[in-house]
């Protein structure tokens, strides 16, 4: 099939960007979206141009590297799908596609479709862990966890940290990302000792990074490739309220 691509090109974070048009020719239906871009990039290079920079690594929906907005949808709008898992059979010959980077105050553009997501790492550094020194753990089965909690924790822990939730949110909030980590650890006995401090620190870091507030629109949930539920945000709000109250009482 043949398609027309309108792609955001931006040389670096300081230069202004613009949309440029490219023809994607003879694209096999069974190719993935990123393979389609590979083909276009080979054509661009042969014609003497610089390829469109976009990030990807695992190309199977687990590393969270790939990130782009297609026709207004983060990851292209297929349910539970990263853009690297999106296949061309979902498009039609003659389609026109607009491809842009994640847009958010906290994600400066590095080049073309590549943005800097290090703010998400710093949120985790502020508290997204259980403090346990290597070698100091008790036997794994000494700590039984009800299957239900463990399964729910896993639902949250699946987050791949891609940042689509931020890109889809009109406020540029990373609440779904944050709530997934807080939910995962908060549901497990291992996460209890640091539970309150964790949520306070992570929310503060989130705000400091320039991510916006959550106003309960839940666009994030709709684009999340791992279909992480917004109920984790509700859970986070509860945790945050409790932790804040305890902090006032000096009990965190």
């Amino acid at each position: 099939m043949n398609l027309t691509l309108k792609v955001w090109r931006q040389k670096d974070s300081k230069s202004p960007g613009r949309i440029e048009t490219y023809a994607a020719k003879n694209i096999p239906e069974s190719a993935s979206f990123l393979e389609m871009l590979d083909i276009v990039n080979e054509d661009i290079m042969h014609a003497g141009g610089e390829p469109i920079m976009f990030e990807s690594d695992c190309r199977e929906g687990i590393c969270g590297t790939c990130s782009m907005v297609i026709n207004g949808y983060a990851h292209g709008g297929q349910r539970g799908t990263t853009v690297c898992q999106l296949h061309m059979r979902h498009f039609k010959d003659g389609d026109e596609l607009t491809i842009e980077p994640w847009r958010a105050a906290a994600f400066p553009v590095v080049r073309d479709l590549v943005v800097n997501r290090s703010g998400l790492d710093r949120i985790i550094q502020s508290g997204g862990y259980v403090s346990v020194r290597t070698g100091s753990a008790v036997d794994g089965n000494a700590l039984p966890v009800p299957k239900k909690n463990s399964d729910l924790a896993m639902d949250a822990a699946q987050c791949i940290g891609c940042g689509a939730c931020v890109a889809a949110c009109k406020n540029g909030s990373a609440m779904l990302f944050l709530s997934a980590k807080v939910g995962h650890l908060g549901l497990l006995p291992q996460g209890q000792p640091e539970r309150h401090r964790r949520v306070l620190n992570m929310v503060r870091q989130h705000d400091q990074e320039g991510f916006g507030n959550c106003t309960n629109q839940y666009e994030c949930e709709a684009v999340c490739p791992k279909e992480i539920s917004s109920t984790f945000i509700t859970r986070l709000n509860r945790d945050y309220a409790v932790a804040s109250a305890r902090e006032l009482l000096g009990a965190v």
Partner: protein
């Protein structure tokens, strides 16, 4: 400015060899004396410790943030060392370990099914076709139990039974259930555990993290590894980092085949450049072809996708019994199906080890019984399990894998069998290390998939995650102290040391040279051509003629690369084409050493199948009299053949035996 070397090596008759005894004593595995059981405990009791106040004075570089590197960086920092950690992705959480699906082994014996440290040790040695070092493997089996405890404590949400206890599944090559898992995302959850520990140490300042930063070269001063040169992939900036010791945890080299289940960025650059600076490369020809991957669709394809081996617990593998049978699978009656694994290996059946299962699939396809458009596929059929267990249970066990399959192929595997074909998946070879996980270059340590140490000629499923975490959490943090203690009062050379400056200049020069060629072919085109050649001549089956052909072709391709490469743009900012070209340039050198190794090893063992050495019914024929050694290659510079060192393998606890899964 240094120019890259073109090693125009003619196909070799017999490589020059020296064995360990005569090789300046260089290849001493330093395995502890005495019985294996207890050897690691004795080692730890006797090893020289560095006092906590002094640890702070040591800088350690860890290249890689996967299971091995992430675990090591976090643990070394907890111990008090000053750590710098590097990864090429934009976050340490994205290291390729994230993609592991199936699980991690540990000799916990929670199922009370007769597992033990010895049994895991034995399975691993046998699975590796008796080509690994006993002492390392024993230690691996021993610390496997600590790994599970550590990960549970970090909050890794392993699968659980209703009673709240940890669940297990069985995996290829084992007759006990010792595999721990977190749905189909075990690697992700283990990596996020290590990443969280690493993040904590980054926050304390104990680890300086350098993301999107690729190692270009190793700095060796007075024979010791003392630093690295890196390139920031976002800004193009070249940097020099000095340290008392360097740890490489940079993963495997499967992408030498272009198509593999590895992530796009996986590379041999770090280990290969260290090799060029003196580190020996061991057993590069041992590569693992995974039996259950989605078949190749077309020549635009950028990677292959693994379908976890755990599927073989409930799926039955078959091919049509008749050649060229093009009927739809549901139209082929039971009597005209060949469940070839169950037929050939009745005691392991569909759970036969990977090398054996892969070869059996190839055999069926070579015989004209392959399925799919290109005839390069066999069926993995769940119909019986669905009948027996019901679709909901199958969905619970493998739902995400079935979804993944449908996304890629557009086919529903609940209704028709999956089509699968073997694909390059893992590399057992890697930089040579001793029991301390230190290479022959003092100060250079290598952990995880990047070293050669524990899997011999074939790795068992769910054992790479185990090895990465064993090395990173529980082995290296002790063994690195041996080197650092001996370095004691020595001063750390500065970044402007002439050696360091020369390495830095060489790195810059190499990139500039690639940009200046301005030829016609893109890095991707060279990579694909090399990959096809390697798959054809040094893939699932190898023979002398094919390898000699490859050894002629690779130098030509390399020469063409340096004359006809096209890389647009500059080195001073984000430039993916340049990153790719840089990696391909190393594959073009490494591939040759891989073929030398495959050619010289005139036997079949594990993932290395030489067509000339097989039994009448097509099983691998090992030659223990002549090849029970580790082949460690030394780089001899431009236009020279690599030099073969041998580390003889001694088996004290297990008897060398023909590996049978019948």
């Amino acid at each position: 400015m240094s120019t890259p070397d073109f090693r125009n090596v003619s196909p070799l008759a017999a490589p020059p060899t020296r064995d360990a005894a005569t090789a300046n004593g260089a290849l001493d595995g330093k395995t502890p004396q005495g019985p294996l059981a207890g050897a690691w405990d004795r080692y730890r009791a006797e090893v020289q410790l560095i006092n906590p106040a002094n640890k702070r004075k040591y800088q350690v570089i860890v290249v890689g943030s996967g299971l091995a590197g992430g675990a090591a960086a976090a643990t070394l920092s907890e111990l008090g060392y000053q750590v710098s950690c590097f990864c090429y992705q934009d976050s340490p959480r994205r290291a390729h370990s994230i993609a592991a699906q199936g699980g991690i082994n540990a000799a916990k014996n929670y199922q009370n099914d007769g597992d033990s440290i010895f049994r895991l040790f034995y399975d691993t040695i046998k699975g590796g076709d008796f080509r690994s070092r006993e002492a390392n493997v024993y230690r691996l089996a021993q610390v496997s139990r600590d790994i599970i405890d550590q990960c549970v404590a970090q909050g890794v949400p392993f699968a659980r039974e209703y009673g709240g206890q940890l669940a297990n599944r069985s995996f290829g090559g084992a007759q006990v259930s010792r595999t721990f898992y977190a749905r189909g995302q075990t690697g992700q959850q283990l990596l996020l555990g290590a990443y969280s520990a690493l993040s904590k140490q980054i926050a304390t300042g104990g680890v300086k993290m350098f993301s999107h930063c690729e190692m270009q070269d190793l700095i060796v001063i007075d024979g010791h590894a003392k630093g690295i040169v890196t390139r920031d992939l976002f800004t193009g900036e070249i940097q020099t980092h000095m340290a008392h010791a360097v740890v490489l945890a940079t993963g495997g080299y499967g992408n030498v085949f272009y198509l593999s289940t590895n992530a796009r960025g996986c590379n041999v650059t770090a280990t290969w450049r260290a090799h060029r600076r003196g580190a020996f490369f061991a057993n590069p020809c041992y590569t693992q072809i995974h039996p259950t991957c989605i078949p190749v669709g077309g020549d635009y394809q950028s990677k292959l996708t693994l379908m976890s081996e755990s599927l073989r617990n409930d799926g039955r593998v078959w091919a049509p019994a008749k050649k060229g049978d093009k009927r739809a699978p549901q139209d082929i009656p039971e009597s005209e199906r060949d469940y070839y694994l169950e037929r050939k290996y009745p005691s392991y059946g569909n759970l036969a080890p990977r090398d054996i299962s892969s070869r059996a699939a190839k055999e069926a396809c070579d015989d004209g019984r392959g399925v799919g458009d290109h005839g390069l596929g066999v069926y993995l059929d769940f119909a019986d399990s669905i009948k027996r267990l019901g679709e909901p249970l199958i969905r619970e066990r493998y739902g995400n894998l079935f979804d993944m399959y449908e996304k890629i192929t557009g086919e529903n595997a609940y209704q028709r069998p999956m089509r699968i074909f073997p694909a390059v998946h893992y590399t057992m070879g890697g930089l040579w290390v001793d029991y301390n996980l230190m290479s022959n270059l003092p100060g250079l340590h290598v952990i995880g998939e990047a070293n050669f140490s524990d899997h011999g000629a074939n790795r068992l499923g769910a054992s790479a995650l185990m090895q990465g975490l064993a090395d990173g959490y529980f082995v290296l943090p002790y063994t690195i102290g041996v080197y650092l203690a001996s370095e004691g009062g020595k001063k750390l050379p500065k970044a402007d040391h002439p050696e360091a400056a020369a390495v830095r200049e060489a790195s810059t020069g190499r990139l500039q040279k690639m940009l200046a060629i301005n030829g016609k072919r893109t890095p991707g085109e060279f990579h694909r051509e090399l990959g096809l050649l390697m798959w054809d001549k040094c893939g699932m089956a190898r023979n002398r003629d094919g390898l000699q052909h490859a050894l002629q072709r690779i130098p030509q391709l390399r020469e063409e690369f340096w004359q006809n490469l096209r890389v647009p743009g500059e080195a001073g900012n984000l430039n993916h084409a340049l990153d790719h070209a840089n990696r391909v340039s190393d594959y073009l050198e490494f591939a040759e050493t891989m073929c030398f190794d495959a050619l010289h090893r005139e036997e079949s063992c594990g993932g290395h199948f030489r067509e000339e050495y097989q039994t009448e019914d097509g099983e691998a024929m090992r030659d223990d009299d002549n090849y029970a050694y580790v082949a460690a290659w030394e780089h001899k510079g431009a236009d020279a053949q690599p030099y073969l060192h041998k580390e003889p393998l001694e088996f004290k606890e297990v008897h060398l035996a023909v590996r049978s899964y019948k």
